[in-house]
């Protein structure tokens, strides 16, 4: 009985080993076949998910201070023609401690935006069109539109410019007023904050 059990166990172990060996070999073979898939196929797939036109603004949370210059870059494929527009809405109530702009964007009325800039640009070899924009107080709407026959691809970004810092304004006013030791004290306070 015991001997028969040992033989059965040996047979079972052999079967497991054979199954494991077959499993590993087939996995390796499958991976090898996968590598031979032409790259062109992958290329087509990756192109499908690429956006038609993109806007990037070098502003961390979209909130800036008056006088700041932001860099706007329009990205797309080489040779694509894009209409680039910038609108400014000065009828927004901006809290000093504003942290996000979503609620302001939702509350803003379309008729409050006035067109500041409109350009039709053709993206060159690099597929980039950069533009510097010096900000005044208000809510900016930046729009890029790519017209492709009857289809239109549109990308929008918002930037809020909340006005000059109180501290900086105080310092500037003080500098332009009477020269006094107080100015130096204010300067030191601001520099050491």
């Amino acid at each position: 009985m015991v001997r028969g059990g040992i033989i059965m166990a040996k047979k079972f172990l052999t079967m497991v080993l054979v199954l494991v060996a077959v499993g590993i070999t087939s996995t390796i073979a499958y991976a090898g076949v996968g590598d031979t898939v032409p790259k062109q196929v992958v290329k087509v797939e990756s192109q499908k998910v690429e956006k038609e036109v993109q806007i990037n603004v070098n502003s961390e949370n979209g909130i800036q201070t008056e006088g700041d210059v932001v860099l706007i870059t329009i990205r797309g494929k080489k040779g694509v023609s894009v209409t680039f527009e910038v609108y400014l809405n000065t009828n927004v109530v901006i809290q000093e401690d504003v942290k996000t702009i979503e609620s302001l964007v939702e509350a803003a009325k379309a008729e409050d935006y006035s067109l500041l800039l409109s350009e039709v640009v053709e993206l060159e070899d690099s597929g980039i069109y950069p533009k510097e924009l010096k900000l005044k107080k208000g809510l900016y709407k930046i729009v890029a539109i790519k017209q492709d026959g009857t289809n239109s691809f549109r990308e929008v970004r918002y930037v809020l410019c909340k006005g000059i810092d109180d501290a900086a304004r105080t310092l500037d006013n003080a500098k332009n007023a009477i020269i006094s030791p107080v100015i130096e004290t204010i300067k030191k306070l601001i520099n050491n904050k």
Partner: protein, 479 residues
């Protein structure tokens, strides 16, 4: 009558002595002084002594005003930023109570938003050279933490958040723990921020937010650099100048030195130990035999000797700076090759050729000068174009994007069939390594003016572009 005769005799004697004195001045001393002052504009018995720190100069300055507001300066005529920075660095290098630590990537990224000034050098400089010029101990902990330096940053957000970073491009060493006196530089940064300045953006911000490339380049430049009219420093056709130069290198009567005039107009002076060649294009070459000595050359001693040698052998052009230090070996003796360049109108003068034109190059073995090569152009006028604006580094990259990318593919033997177009594009944008402004000597026959150019470094190659029309001036030189 007697008195009259005596006065006449006295006058006659006075005239005779005056004549003798003047003749002696004219024929014995006067020609030497005349020649040397004509050739080099300095007195014979006065040599201006230079020191190493005179030759360490940044190639450009990046100024962070806080957040994403940054400016870039390629020359500094008004603020003396480097000399003020050197004063701060001197106290840092001499300090005994420093905290030194390597920055993490997150810390580096965070620091970009602070208020700072960054000094960028054209090549790596040994850290102990800085120790030497700041009279610091050779065993300074800064020397131990980083061997070479190619950029130095001073962060000055507040007194509590003041520190200095020294980098070789790979690692960033943060130095803190001391009270840094940034007040003077801070006030300059305030002044610059309120004026018209050229803004700098990282390649990531400007070209592709999906890649990591912290190279700063300007999108728009707010200044126009001039074209500079020049002449060769050495006019080989002037025999008086030629002899004056030769007498500097051979401390004896030139009558005993062999002189050879070559068919192309070059002149060679030769004796048993030394050879001097003045080329027809104004290049000077000097070779001297050096005794073998198993003792290895010392970098600082060699550099000091090289500087002293140029001091006494034709002097330095204005705004000369140490460009490169190479280690060399000559008949089992170790030594160094020092390449100095110079600036005109605040910008480095460069040549399209790889040969050492527009530079001063010295090879020292066992701390002694073995060879000296010099080619300098002197400015005699400049013109700034009024009716066209200079292009920015971004403009020239954008205009030549396809061409630069094609060269990147060729230089790196990239098989375009095995890589996705987008992936290749990302790779290429990631290897834009530097953009600098320079004054270019195109070496065209008969060309007597130099023009401003952008040098764009891509994956180890330097490409030169006309700063006004964006045309390529070379096919790319290995850096």
């Amino acid at each position: 009558m007697k008195i009259k005769e005596r006065i006449k005799s006295f006058l006659l004697a006075f005239l005779v002595f005056t004549t003798i004195y003047l003749v002696q001045q004219l024929w014995v001393e006067f020609p030497d002084e005349l020649l040397s002052s004509l050739a080099f504009g300095q007195e014979t018995d006065y040599v201006e002594e230079s020191v190493i720190s005179d030759f360490i100069q940044p190639e450009k300055y990046i100024i962070g005003f806080g957040g994403n507001n940054r400016g870039i300066m390629y020359y500094d005529e008004d603020h003396d930023l480097w000399n003020k920075g050197k004063e701060i660095l001197k106290t840092v290098f001499q300090s005994k109570s420093l905290k030194i630590e390597e920055m993490t990537n997150e810390e580096i990224e965070e620091s970009r938003k602070k208020r700072f000034i960054g000094y960028y050098f054209s090549n790596d400089i040994y850290t102990f050279v800085f120790s030497k010029i700041f009279d610091a101990d050779a065993s300074s902990p800064i020397n131990e933490s980083i061997k070479k330096v190619n950029s130095i940053y001073m962060y000055m957000d507040s007194l509590r958040d003041s520190f200095i970073v020294i980098s070789d491009g790979n690692s960033f060493i943060k130095i803190s723990g001391d009270k840094f006196r940034f007040e003077v530089i801070k006030s300059d940064i305030d002044i610059i921020s309120k004026g018209v300045f050229t803004r700098a953006y990282t390649v990531t911000d400007l070209i592709d937010p999906d890649i990591k490339n912290d190279t700063y380049i300007p999108l728009e430049v707010k200044f126009n650099s001039p074209q500079i009219h020049v002449q060769e420093e050495i006019d080989v056709s002037n025999e008086l100048v030629e002899k004056s130069i030769a007498s500097l290198f051979f401390n004896r009567d030139l009558a005993y030195i062999r002189r050879i005039e070559e068919s192309d107009g070059s002149i060679i002076y030769i004796d048993s130990q030394k050879t001097l060649k003045i080329h027809e294009n104004g290049t000077l070459e000097f070779f001297k035999s050096v005794d073998a000595n198993p003792e290895a050359g010392n970098l600082i001693m060699s550099l000091n000797n090289a500087i002293d040698f140029v001091d006494t052998h034709m002097g330095w052009p204005k705004d000369a700076y140490l460009y490169k230090v190479d280690e060399i070996e000559f008949e089992n003796n170790k030594g160094f090759r020092f390449t100095f360049r110079y600036k005109l109108k605040g910008l480095p003068v460069i040549s399209g050729e790889q040969a050492a034109k527009n530079s001063i190059e010295l090879e020292l073995v066992n701390n002694l000068v073995k060879s000296y090569r010099r080619h300098i152009l002197e400015e005699f006028g400049s013109v700034t174009p009024k009716y066209k604006n200079m292009l920015s580094a971004y403009d020239v990259i954008n205009e030549n994007y396809g061409d630069l990318k094609a060269k990147y593919i060729k230089n790196n033997n990239i098989n375009v069939d095995t890589i996705l177009t987008e992936e290749l594009d990302i790779q290429f944008k990631s290897v834009i390594e530097n953009a600098s402004l320079a004054i270019f000597d195109s070496s065209v026959e008969g060309s007597q003016y130099l023009k401003p150019v952008w040098i764009i470094d891509v994956a180890g190659y330097s490409y030169i572009f006309d700063a006004y029309d964006g045309y390529g001036e070379n096919g790319g030189n290995p850096r």
